[in-house]
Point group: C2
Chain length 82, copies 2
């Protein structure tokens, strides 16, 4: 079995209202020196295969087709465990 972690983040320049809200909230909570905050998504996916190359190509296809909106989001695939 292969376990992978996919991280989907907004591209630079894309407005992130959730991140902005968190910046404001951290200021309200008296955290000093907080700069930019950006929020993204993470997916932990288990695959029934030991073939690393196949797993990686499947995971990239999942991102392209379902998990990421590639117009505004970037994704990174990392195999955590084989």
């Amino acid at each position: 079995m292969t376990t992978a972690r996919i991280v989907v983040t907004l591209k630079n320049g894309v407005l992130d209202p959730q991140g902005k809200a968190i910046e404001g909230a951290l200021g309200t909570l008296n955290f000093q020196g907080v700069g930019k905050v950006r929020q993204g998504k993470v997916f932990d996916v288990e695959l029934d295969t030991k073939d690393r190359a196949k797993a990686e190509s499947d995971l990239n296809a999942m991102c392209e087709k379902l998990l990421a909106n590639t117009v505004i989001e970037d994704y990174a695939v990392e195999i955590v465990e084989e």
Copy 2:
């Protein structure tokens, strides 16, 4: 400046309807051998400090107070860049 990545994931045993929906959708898209899928959140935070210890303690406090619901979620803090 310190850049950190915080990953917030649901604890084991906590129901994840979004993850279940993604499992179903991946099946519909004909991806074979997909096991469990769990969704979480990621936060990229910039801090105006070079003090790694202070940054880590601040980031943990942010998770406890705002970013994670520690009843049902775990969090991991990773310093990406100093």
